[in-house]
Subunit: 372 residues, 2 copies
């Protein structure tokens, strides 16, 4: 497929896909000619319905999508456990480790581990999917592993393309065989869950491996139009982005963390399993340091136990950090990729899209002129 064909297929002007947990970002990107994708996993089905209804009202029929994390395997899968029963699988020494870390940073410990809204218990993944499918979404994405059959079938029935994120060419081949319609080849520099191979190597590797079977978006580290152009020059059909939206005006990123991101360099985005149990890239902080593999250090728990241990606590930390609590500020972190080193200003999401286009075109000219 070509970039142009992809744009026609998705009804967009510019093949820039924007993953965000913030509905305002999703709508702004879609309205600016790109394609917004709402990260849905943290919502309950009711919340997701409200968010998508809001987007429907604001995009006036322009295309957008939803992203749900339904990993192939996770602790307690298929056992029909309640959230409390799942929480019981978190060893006491891990709870104590978190309590001690908080206390060492002057924060009173109060929270028992628990899941927020999540696709990782019972049938929530399927319920979220049903809600998403009841809206006019133009893409459904699964961010971790091969999408479950019910997602691929539901997409096929309703003519909604299913996308999957991959970090290795072997996974891309498996996803195509499973019936996925769009591959997002995401390099290790990406924020959130990521593999080991860099975008510059992974994209041509995936393109070679799947040999045109489905379109491929490049992801990982892409926060400027010139990087997107680089990916298209290598043969990608477009770009999938996430981190760059975290410092937009619309983003609901905690203020302190947003400020940290604006001054961070690429080396401040570290890969660690200490937030979800699977390796993901995050802003370096005392929290990420505490979960580094080291003698006497704690091995993170499997998904979703590690998230249950961390998510609620980290949200409290965000609130305290924004109130000026110094210990909380040292602990505060959020998922972000190495591209954070290039994110230096808060901008409206619409401006980010327009700058991407401009920078992309300049890069295309630079390359075209380079050897004439």
């Amino acid at each position: 497929m070509t970039t142009r064909a992809l744009c026609e297929r998705f009804g967009i002007e510019f093949p820039l896909f924007a993953f965000s947990h913030c509905r305002d970002v999703v709508a702004a990107v879609t309205n600016a000619g790109g394609f917004g994708v709402l990260g849905a996993t943290a919502y309950t089905p009711e919340q997701l319905d409200r968010e998508l209804s809001w987007i429907d009202e604001h995009v006036h029929g322009k295309p957008y999508g939803a992203d749900i994390i339904v990993p192939a395997t996770f602790e307690g899968k298929g056992e029909g456990l309640s959230r409390t029963q799942l929480a019981d699988r978190i060893p006491m020494e891990y709870r104590d480790f978190v309590t001690d870390l908080l206390v060492a940073h002057g924060i009173e410990a109060d929270s028992t581990p628990r899941l927020g809204g999540s696709a990782l218990t019972g049938d929530t993944g399927r319920e979220l999917l049903d809600v998403a499918m009841s809206h006019p979404i133009a893409l459904i994405a699964n961010a971790l592993g091969v999408p479950p059959d019910y997602m691929i079938e539901a997409g096929r029935e309703r003519g909604i393309p299913v996308a999957a994120l991959v970090g290795a060419k072997e996974h891309a081949v498996k996803q195509v065989a499973a019936g996925v319609d769009l591959i997002v080849a995401q390099g290790t520099e990406a924020g959130g869950h990521c593999g080991e191979v860099t975008t510059l190597v992974l994209v041509p590797e995936v393109l070679d491996a799947i040999d045109g079977a489905v379109p491929v978006l490049a992801a990982g580290g892409i926060v400027t139009g010139r990087q997107m152009a680089a990916a298209v020059a290598m043969g990608a059909d477009g770009a999938w982005t996430g981190s760059v939206w975290l410092t937009t005006e619309e983003a609901e990123t905690a203020s302190h963390t947003k400020q940290k991101m604006l001054t961070a360099t690429s080396r401040d985005a570290v890969r660690s399993a200490g937030r979800t149990g699977k390796p993901s890239r995050q802003l370096k902080s005392d929290w990420t340091d505490a979960w580094l593999p080291k003698p006497g250090g704690r091995q993170p728990l499997p998904l979703p136990l590690q998230s249950m241990l961390s998510e609620r606590v980290l949200r409290r930390i965000d609130v305290l950090a924004d109130q000026g609590h110094p210990g909380a500020q040292q602990l505060a972190t959020y998922f972000v990729g190495q591209g954070v080193g290039l994110m230096t200003k808060v901008k409206p999401a619409r401006d980010v899209v327009l700058e991407f286009v401009e920078d992309y075109l300049a890069a295309a000219h630079r390359l075209g002129d380079s050897l004439t």
Copy 2:
């Protein structure tokens, strides 16, 4: 600077720089319109003189360069130690660890740790530089840290540009301040010594940070023309490559290792300090596994002690592996980047250059056509 201006400045047709320890590769790339750079560190001054004389005879005045590793700091620096005295600093438990590893793989241990030809004792770095400067080289590069003053001064005196490899934007700024004429921004996917930031992020970060002060070559993972085009689209003036030459017909890569490289995926190129004492990317093997950080594992020794422990042993292993020794084949490894996943055929170095050009031009057309 533009790509064209860089080509004019270096007297080349295509801004593809090829680092190799093999004089045949250096000459072939230079003769094909690129720029060959001989890795000189492993040679004695006398050997280097012979290699460069051979290149002089074969390139007929076309430009080439030399690369010497002179790190700013290393064990024993300035202490005037003999190689034997330096070897005495390797703890007995480390020698035993290597012996045990060999024996576990059915290899008789015989060797005492020692340095081969190296710039890391006494004044060898300066001697190698003097030899290089006595040949008509058009570039001198330092692959690790800020080049010593004597290298920058010698380059200035003779009008030979000095290049330095960097893995972080802060290092690029420092190098420019020290008087370096050309920055090689090398991403974490590179073979050999490498930092943590990927090429796709590092290149724009470095370009922004040094703001046109000197030209910038992109390095790390680049084994095809489309990846080189990606780097130029982002603003790099050209590409610096290494791994791709290891599977050329001319390369002196051990046969068994060359075969391993042809079937390896990008994830088989792992970053570890277990060969030289500083993190470098190498082909995964029982050797690299043995030096992984783990409870009870050995922390690698500082440069050059770890090289003294590994280099000579690994050369013996290569010989045994090529003779069909199964244990040696499990241990055999060599420096290579993630681009190894895209290296699937043995080709003459000249063909690699020509394919780079063709692939680069196709990528430029693809990007140019993408949005019209």
